[in-house]
Every structure is written in C-alpha cells, then in structure tokens.
Subunit: 323 residues, 5 copies
C-alpha cells in the first residue's frame, strides 16, 4: 500500500502527492528528491515501484520479506538499510519489534514498513520543520529516520529498567514472591531487543565514518552521534542481562532461605505439640503405684506444667526468630 509520495525541492516539500511514475521522473532534477512510503506492499504492487526506480531484485526481496537483521547494504548507488523500530508495551512487558526497509539513493528514498510501530511520521514532520536539514537530500531523510528509531530505544530501556527494579524488589521483599517466570520472560525480551538493536550499530558506524554518495559529509557527525547513542543502549542491554542473571541466582537463594524459615517453624510446632502429648502419655500409664494420680492437685499441675514448658519453648523460638 502506498502511504505517501512526497516530492522535496531544496529542502521543502512541494504540496500534493505524485503518482509513482511522476515521482520517478521528477526526482531526476537537481536538488530534488522523492520520498515514497509503502506499507506492507504485495509483490505485484511493489513490482511497479521496483521497475520504475530500478531497484536490485535481492534488495527488493529483503524489503518485502520481513524478518531481516538490521543492516546496511550497498547496491551500486543505492543503499538498502533495514531498521527495527521498537516499542515497549509495558502492560505485557513485551518489546514489540517492527521492520522498516529503506532504499536510499541520491534521487529518492523508498521506505517499506512492516508492523505497527512507525517512527516514519515523526521523521517526516521533523524534515518539514527543518528544511535546512531536508535540503541535504536523501541522506538527511535516512538520518532523521535512524535518529528517530534510535531515540525510540530510550523508552524501551526505561521500561525495562523499571521492570527490573520491580523484579529486584520482588526478589528481596519479605513476601513470598517468586519472580522466576518474570525474570525469564524479561530476559527473553531483553534478548529480542538486543537482536533488534545490536547489529545496527556497526551499520550506523559505517555511515558515520565511510564515504557514501548519498550521505553529505556534514551529516556524518550526526550519524556518529546516533552511533554513540546506540553504544550507550548496547551497554545498558548488556547490563540488563547481567542483572537478570544475577537476580535469578539471588532469587533461588531467597527462596531457599524462606524454605529454611518454614523448616524452622515446623521444628518449633512439632516441639510444642510433642510436649503435652508426651506428658499426657506418661500420666496415661496404668501403673498401680503412680502417687501423682491420687493427688487432688495432680491434674491441674500436669496441665500447668504442659502450659509452662510450651510457653518457655515459644519464648525461646520467638527469641531465635523461628516463628
């Protein structure tokens, strides 16, 4: 589905939408380029675009089939950049991962989006607000999209940070929480996030350090800035993994400790119940000569001795924190 087809001239978007054919002709002008936005295009639909703009069949295949790694590939003058926009769905503690393929050429940008999360609109708005950026051509479009996507990593990192803090509290709270399952699934989300994020860093580094026709040298510090941001996110993701793995180990320890506490509580109650039973059993013996049995105070004294011993035990257990 064609979502948008915009024509930029010297950094400003010309009003109205063009057809694909018009766009492909218009973009050959100097200082002009076209940004064609597609959403989950079918094979036939994309066929027209492909032939109009002369895209490499392999690149096209990568763009149509989602499930690519983030990457940067060079097909003659055209760059293929695959990006993974992410969104943190806090309610489910799930990182939603989309996919965007970009064809970037001195004359055009073609964006192919899969999945719901879309940072393209915001990138578009930024370009319209900063025409001096847009005037740097398709490389600036690429920058504004990559910058947006990497900026969107931040809320994911924050969401995961908060969830890990919650898990920490659960692990070490005195209550009987067992966040093992939550830790496991957070780890899985962190791993998924990492797979979406990590391979992009070297791609962006190439944009920052090597020469490409479509990337204005003045833009390179901007890509370096984005790259730096990615390294920061990667470092944090690695820390998440270390923390979750340690949390899993600590959780096992906490559970063991609680088991131990239950154990001691059992001991305490077994001891307390055993005292009256043993005393009573003794006075339940049928010996002929048990003088205590004849005393009027025998029974109350027996009961009192049970109570006193049990109270003493209870006091000791309380003091030793076995209750």
């Amino acid at each position: 589905m064609i979502v948008d087809c915009a024509f930029y001239e010297h950094g400003r978007r010309r009003a109205g939408e063009l057809s694909v054919a018009e766009a492909s002709r218009a973009c050959r002008q100097d200082g002009a380029f076209v940004w064609l936005g597609l959403f989950e295009p079918g094979a036939e639909e994309f066929e027209a675009v492909t032939s109009e703009f002369g895209l490499h069949p392999l690149a096209v295949e990568d763009a149509i089939n989602a499930h690519q790694r983030p990457k940067l590939e060079v097909y003659d003058e055209t760059l293929l950049v695959v990006l993974k926009p992410v969104r943190y769905i806090d309610h489910d503690e799930v990182v939603e991962i989309g996919e965007i393929a970009l064809f970037v050429n001195p004359e055009f940008v073609i964006s192919v989006r899969h999945g719901r999360s879309s940072p393209l609109k915001q990138a578009r708005q930024r370009l319209e607000q900063e025409p001096e950026l847009a005037a740097r051509g398709p490389g600036a479009v690429l920058y504004s999209i990559v910058d947006r996507i990497v900026g969107d990593y931040e809320p994911v990192v924050e969401g995961l940070t908060v969830d890990i803090q919650e898990v920490e509290e659960q692990v070490f709270s005195p209550g009987r929480h067992n966040p093992a399952e939550r830790i496991y699934y957070l780890e899985r989300e962190v791993l998924d996030f990492r797979r979406a994020v990590e391979p992009l860093a070297p791609a962006v580094e190439r944009l920052a350090t090597r020469r490409f026709d479509v990337v204005d040298p003045e833009l390179q510090p901007y890509f370096r800035d984005v790259h730096d941001h990615m390294l920061r996110v990667n470092a944090q993701v690695d820390q998440f993994r270390d923390l979750l793995s340690t949390a899993l180990g600590a959780n096992l320890t906490q559970i063991s400790v609680r088991q131990n506490e239950d154990m001691r509580r059992i001991t305490a109650w077994v001891a307390i119940a055993a005292v009256p039973t043993a005393v009573a059993a003794i006075y339940g013996m049928n010996f002929d000569h048990m003088p205590e049995l004849r005393y009027a105070w025998g029974y109350p004294l027996a009961l009192a001795s049970m109570v006193i011993v049990d109270l003493y035990l209870a006091y000791r257990f309380k003091k030793a924190k076995w209750f």
Copy 2:
C-alpha cells in the same frame, strides 16, 4: 554411486545423461559445464572421477570421508566447499545433519552427498527453471545449493523455537513437570546445529567479498544475501543457548518452590493431626480428680473442641495458601 550427470550449455540442460568420460570432455567447451552428482561413492568408484577431472587427492579424501566441518578451500582453479544440510525431526527433537562436498570449477561441479537429507534435487530444479541463473555457470550451481541449504535452516530454527516455547510453558506451568532432561537434550541439539552452521558463515562471506574465477561478480550480492541469512540464524542460535541456560536455572527455582509448597503442606497436616492426639492424650490421663471426665457433656465437648481447633487451623492454612 553416480546419481546424475547433467550437461549444461548456455544455462540449459541438454537432455540425456553422459558417462563420466563424455562429461569430462564435453565440459571443456565454452559456455558449458557438467554437474556430476554422486552419493556416498566408494574409493574405487571415485577414483575414476578423480583422475578424469584432475581433483586434488586431499580434497578427494575430504569428500569421501564425511565428518568434515563446513568449509571453503581453494585448490588452484577448483573450490572445495563442504556443506552440512540439516533437517529437524520434530518427533524426536533431533537435528539430523548430513554432509555434501562440492568441487566447483569453471568447467564442472561435482557434488558428493552423504546422509539422507538432500537439498540437491531442489537446487537442480531451480536451475532448470531459471536458465538465466544457470547461464552464470558453476558458480550459480554453488549459489543455488548453498541458498537451498541455508534456506533449510529456517524450519530447524522454527522447530527449535516451538520446542523452547513448550519447555518454557512446562517450566512455569503449575503442574509438576521437570523438563530438565528435555532442556539438556535441546541444548545438545542446538550445539550440534551450531557446529554445522557457524563455520559456514565466514566461508560464504569469502564467496561474497573475494574474487574467485568460478564466481561471476554479479553473483556476489546473492552470496552476501545468503551470508546475511546465516548471521540471522547464528544470532538466533546464540539466543537459544541463552534461553535454555536461563530456563534450566529457572526450572531449578520452580522445583524448589514446589518443594517449599509440599513442605508447608506437611506442616499443616502435622499440626492438624497433632491437635486431636494431644487433646485426647490429656483426657486419657489417669488422674483421680479430673472433673471433666465425670460430666455427661465432657466427651462431646472434647470432640467438639478438637473439630473446632482443627477447622480454625484449616481456615488459617487455607488463607495462607498452605493447602
């Protein structure tokens, strides 16, 4: 055993099969090549092929003895490529790993297959359907086989993904599953799969980036595409290992928690059984002066007190989720 001996001229297969000697002569023509397919050939049988096509004895040895690593080796004009086709046998949760050795030369392709799983047939069919691909010569044969084999990784990855999800559910389900054995054997399969897959990536990268006589430069983006696919699979295999290792740890935790629950249940029942025993023991004492024993209501009251205390305990245990 010679399985097939096909002669390709300008991308089209000429009908009929040739003998090895005919093939070795025919392939010297311009724009022509031979694809000779062998299945677990014996030493003598392969001897004829070796001398006819002038293969290096070491390469021949590697091709006859299975149990090689995936690799790419250059013997003058001839490449030796060892590949590991894989197949996931879902029923047994086992990755079946075969072996294919390819001799690729501007004039011929000789494929030597070991084990059942064979992607060669499909590669052959693809070449016959896309003569413009076949017209690029033996390099295209190599590409179509590698592409097929790497494409076959996908169902293995999917099968493992599904099995790991099942294991996750078992680990965290309330039932008394202990998938430790399954986790262990899945890990072993993942490790086997990795050993079959990982060493191939740098070999394919060399095909994508360095110059070889048998590989048409136009084919290199195709190899790069396959390489990218492999990196994706490798990343997923690494994630499998991380997940399985975390799952093993989480499983231990879950089992500990269940142990703890049993523990508490024991405590509860011990307490409930101890109450009537202790009360009854008291009224079983033989003191002369135990006025309660004389009351008509003594016995029913004693029974009632047992029941009431036990019901209260049961209520408390229920509330604390010890039952």
Copy 3:
C-alpha cells in the same frame, strides 16, 4: 550557570573574572587561553557561549543533556570529552556518578558540569600551583581534569573492596546472614561503575598515542600514565564481578548447609520426643496381664528408662554434632 571564567597567560591565571565576550576575544592571543566553567547551564544561557566560541551544535547538545557515555569526539579543532566523575557513598553502598563535558580547543576550555561530585576545583588548584603545567595550554587543563577524575576512582575501588570483604565475612560467618541482597546491589553498583569507567580508557589511549593539536606531545606520557591507571581499575572491576558472582554461589551453598543443620536438629528432637511417648503409650495399654504395672517400682523404672534412653540419644546427637 557560569561558575568561573579564568584567563591564563603563559601558565599564570590573570586575576579577576571576564565576561564571556571578553574571554572569547582575549583567548585569541598567543600563549593564552580561557577556561570557562559552567554548571548545568540552561539552553538559552548556553546559546550565548555556543555562538561566541563557535561550538558544534551536536557537541552542545551532548553537553547539555547529561546521560552520555564517556567519550572523546573531534569536531575540527575542538575536542569534546565527556567524563564521569564518581564518588562512593559508603553509607548507602552506592556509586554516585556525575557528568562533565569538556570542549578543548587551542584557545579555550569550556567545562560543563552536571551533578554534585566535582573534581574541577581540585584540577584548577593544581594548575595554579604548577604554572609550568598550565603553560602547556588547554591540553594541560584536560590532563589535570582527567587525572583528577581517574584518581577519584581509587576511593571507589577501595570502598567496593572493603564492602566485598564484609560480604565475604558475612557469607562464611557461622551466623545466619544472608547477604544475597547486598551482593546483588553491590553487583549493580559495580556494573554502573564499570559503565562509567570502561569506555573512557580507549578515549584516553587515543589522547596518549595519536596527535591532536591541543595536546602538547610532552603531555602524552602523562595521558599514557592515566590510561595505565584506568586499565588497573578496569582489571579490578572485572575481578569484583568474578568475586561477587562466586560469592553468590558460595552463599547459596552456605545456606544449604545451614538448612541441613536445621534438618538434623529436627531429626534429633523428633527422636527424643518420640521415646517417652512410645514408652508411655506401651504402659498405657489396657491388657489385664501386664505384670510390670503391678510392681511398686514399675512407674519410677519406666520414667528412668525414658530419661536414660533420651540422655543416651542426646549424647549421640551431641557427638555427631547434630545439636
């Protein structure tokens, strides 16, 4: 907020403060430079500085927004160095991490500080005490700040060392400590510290080995010395992680052992309580012909046998260290 604006001439600070505009003019002299110190400047406030000194907008953005990684970036003649001063708050076992961005140019140093911990004052004092150092220009300012910050790592390392030793003692003391939570949070602090420290090492190495206009070659051995110091800290941080991870595992073992001890104590008490109950139950039977019941010494003998068996058991348990 502008904290200080100092003008250095041939290594000596000229008395009095300059306005930003004066400073920007003054620093163009030979052998002179300006050090402008800012504290959490607002966007507008920084705007004036930016335009006066011609700073790159991206570098400015990095300096205003804290939460950067330590890094060294080159914008034409100006270096942007982001540093993370640290301070160990022993009471909370927390590593407090600040942020300082430095713009270093042959003519000026602009320092932008975030957070409380500030090593800038000490660096300033050192420069005033060693005019021959200050005479080497802005590179010397950079050195004295980096040296100060890296020197401040030392108390953090020492604080963590002490805390880890305390944890070790807790793990292996006979008392019922469970330092799992403390281990976890120490690990988190170590990871935070590492993230603040590790990325700086390659940046300082670049200052020590590559040529920069603002860094006098005579200063390079000083940067190498600082780099060496960082490697030492990094090695120690890695060791902290290994120790904490091993301590977590050992802690689980110790807790298991104590559980085992409780277990054995339970066994002991159960046995001791069971003896009188069983003996008493036997003599509580109602058989007509139980001769012992008739003897005058029957009762005292029964009691004595209970006591003797229990004392023997207690002696055995004591000897086997079950108590």
Copy 4:
C-alpha cells in the same frame, strides 16, 4: 637414549643405522636428510647431538624439559615444533598426554620424545611406504608426525563422547545416581586435553600459510588439511565443556526432584501413621460417658474406621504419585 638414526636419500631409507657423527656429515648431501630419534635424553647425551647439529641452546632446553606448550618456533633455518601426543585411557577416563619436540631443518629431523604414547613409529612406517612423500624432505617428516598426532585426537574425542553420553544417561535415569564427581573429573580431562590441543592449531596454520624453507609448498595443502582437522576437534572440545556444564546443572535439578519425591513420601507416611494414633487416642480417653466404648461392635468398628481411612489415604497418595 638414541632410538633410531635413519638416513634418507631421495625419499628412500638407506639400510643400517649411522652414528650421530656419520649422520651429521651424511645429511649435507643434496636430496638427503637424517632422522635422529631420541627418547628422554639426558643432558650430556644430548650435548653431543646439540654440538654436532648446531642446535640453539634455548631450543635444546625446551626439548629436554618436558612440560612445554605445543608451539612452533623458528631458530634461523631450524624449526622447533613441540607436540603433545594424547591417548585416552578409557578405564580410568583419563587423557594421557605425552610430549615430542622436533627440530626440523633442511638437512635433518631430530625427534625428542617424552612419555609413553608414541606416534613416531607409525609416522616412520608411513614414510617408508610412501617414498614420494619422504622425497619432499624433512617437511614431509614433520607433516607425517603432526598428521599422526592429530589423527590420534580422534579416539580421545570419541572416548570422551561415549563417557559424556554415559553421564547423560546417569543424570536422567530414574535410579539414584549422582554423577557429579564423574562430571567434574571429565571436565578436568577435557580441560587438560584442550590445553594440549588448542595452542597447536595456530602453529599448524602458520605451517600451512607462511613460507618456511623446510616446508615444500606442495606440502602446504596437507598442513591446511591437518589444521582443519584441529579446528574440528577444538569445536568438539568446546561443545564438551558446554555439555558438561549443563549436565552439572541438570544433575542438581534431578537430585532436587528426587529429594522432593522423598519429601512427599514422608508426608504420606506421616499422615497414614497419624490416623490410627489419633483415633485410638480418642477412644483412650477416660470420660465416664462415652457410649461407643460400651457397644460390642465399638472396637471392631474403630479398627475398621482406621483401616478404611488409611486405605483411602493410600489410594489418594498412589494416585497423586506420592508413593
């Protein structure tokens, strides 16, 4: 001790043995070389060889003192190659590791062997059977020894594979095995094996890729083949370590599970024993008015109720698999 001193001329061994002095003179001829085999030579004994053949004192020291790492060192024209032949003693699950130092020079090969396992004899026989190989000079001797030693890794790998499979079965068998000790010692053997094997791979790679006077370029593919074999072994050794580490974790889980089963069995028996005791205690009370006590059927009914409740409990426990 001099074991053998053979003189090869154009690939064929000349009959008879030479003295060291004769050998050192004879080997200066074109197309001829000497292979001198020593077994744990003493310092004085080796002194003669050293001065006769002009070996470097450091190399000599390495050859006399065993406990070197596998390595390749170049002393002018002479290579020193240290190799670790291995042998798997299945009965003790121990990897026996020997040591062979080789001095390889265009004119001579001197082999110094320590320990029992010796692949030298087989290498010698192979050379005598393949004179065209021996005709390539001392490099061929080096190849045939290295090839033999690396070939001998195979049975070790197979032995370890079998033992690890046995351990797997023990871990997951229902019986009460605890193979923790076996896992630990297998891990130690795997680590020893790895230390003997891993450092050799880069040494052999150098023989396969760099130019040495003593190594005929035609031999290089053979060294590459050996190198490939080593990579295969290394990959398998890494997998052994992963498997053993996972097996140790899984073993702990299995033991925990069995503990849990014992736990539940305890619960079951405690419950079953508690029922008759509690019922009997009730009817052992001494209330005057307990009508059941007076009925002729009271006693059999009480016994029956005990049996019925216990049978019901036993049925429930059986169903829940607590027995």
Copy 5:
C-alpha cells in the same frame, strides 16, 4: 635504601661498591654499565638518583608508588618495566605479591623493589656466574630478572594445583566437608595471581619481537622463551578458574545429596517410632469388649508384634540404604 650499586665491565662485576655519583659517571664508558638496587626508597632519597641518571618524573612516580600493573613503558632511551614477583604461602593458601620497577638504559639498570619477595639476588648471582650473558649489557640484566620472576610463578602454580586437588577430594569425599569457603578464597588468590601475571605477557612479547636499543637481538629468543613460559602459566590459571567454578557447583550438588540422605534417615526413624506408638494407642483404648486385652498372651504378643514390624522396617531401610 640503596641495597647495592654494582659496576659491570665487559660482563664482569668490578669489586667494591660505588656511590651514586661515581656510578653515574662510570657507566658512560663503552661496554660498561651500572646496576643500582634500591629498596622502598623515600621520595628525597630517590630524588638524588633521579637527577643523577635523568629519569622521567612520571616513571619515577610509578617506581615509588607501588600498586602498578606489570607493564613496559618507553621513555626515550630508557625502558620502565614493572614486574610482580610472587610467592605462594602454602600455609595460608595466599599468593604474596611484591613489586619491582626497573629502569633499563644502555648505561644503567636501576631496580626499585617493594615487598619482601625478591628474586633480584638470584638474578644477580646468575649474571656473575655467566659473564658472557652479563656482557650483553643491561638487556641481559632485564632478561635475568624477568626469567627469575617468571620461573617463580612455577611454585605458585604447583601450590595452587595441590590445593585444588585437596579441594576436589574434600568435595567428593563421603565425609561432611563443605569446602565452599576454601574454594572462594582460592578463587580470590587465583584472580589476584592472574592480575599480577597476565598483563606482563604482552610486555615480554614486545621485548621478544620489537627492536629496543637496550635489548641485544641475540637476547630476543630468550625473551620469547620467557613469553612462552608465561602463556603456559596463563593457560593454567584459566584452567584453575574453570575448575574452581565447577568445583563450587559440584560441591552444592554433593551437599544436596547429603541433605537427601539425612531426609531419608528422618523418614526411617519417624516410621520406626510411629509403629509402637500406634499399636500401643490401639490397646490403650477403653472399649469394654476388646477380647485381646483379656488374654494372658495379649501383652507379650503386642510387644512382639511391635518389635517384629520395626525389625522388618529396619531391614527394608537398611536394604534401601536409607540408614
């Protein structure tokens, strides 16, 4: 404190000691050098040496303050080498780590020693015994010191090996050892040892492979030999860590198994004590019609049945190895 000030001429030490000033003059002769040995010098004391020999202030600072990493730094013609001599104090299972800083220049060697362990004396003796080595100048002094220090690693490695073997035996012995604490502290010593050893290897490799004025090319194979020795030690240290980590895991398993055994013993005793109690409770009931109570053989039969059932249980538990 100046320990020794020796003057070497053509490899031979001239008798008598020189003052620092004499030494600094004497060493300017051809073929001569001075070795000045200092022990924990104070700042002022070292000042004289520094100015006399023209040492770089940073290098001096490194030499005075201990707690450096092992390293090699080049200050013009002078090398600064920091070394960590180690000594294993078997009684405390502690690796004692000292520090030696060496200034090596074509004209002099200045050694600055911290801590007790000192290999300098032995290095000095060796030089006096091998004048042909000493004749190679200060580089030979450096070699003899490094060789000595690295040689001293050997007893540490052996001491650790023995201690780890003892730990293994404790872990797997049937007795109730819990070597977790010992494992932890051994790990800490291994980590300390590693930090002292590992960074030296690349420094020594530089001495073996790069050109330095003070190192005679003929000495380079000697440094290579030392480097090789270090790699061997490093490999062993890595193995120590793997073994200790596996031992910690195995130890937890062994403790769990013993817990399980105690568990089963509890079960057994609970069952054995429950039998007489239950039987006795039954015959303690007060039913009017319990014919057994009237029989003369009732009581002995009841006792006999208790004993028989308990003996049977004991036999069963014995057979199942629960005792």
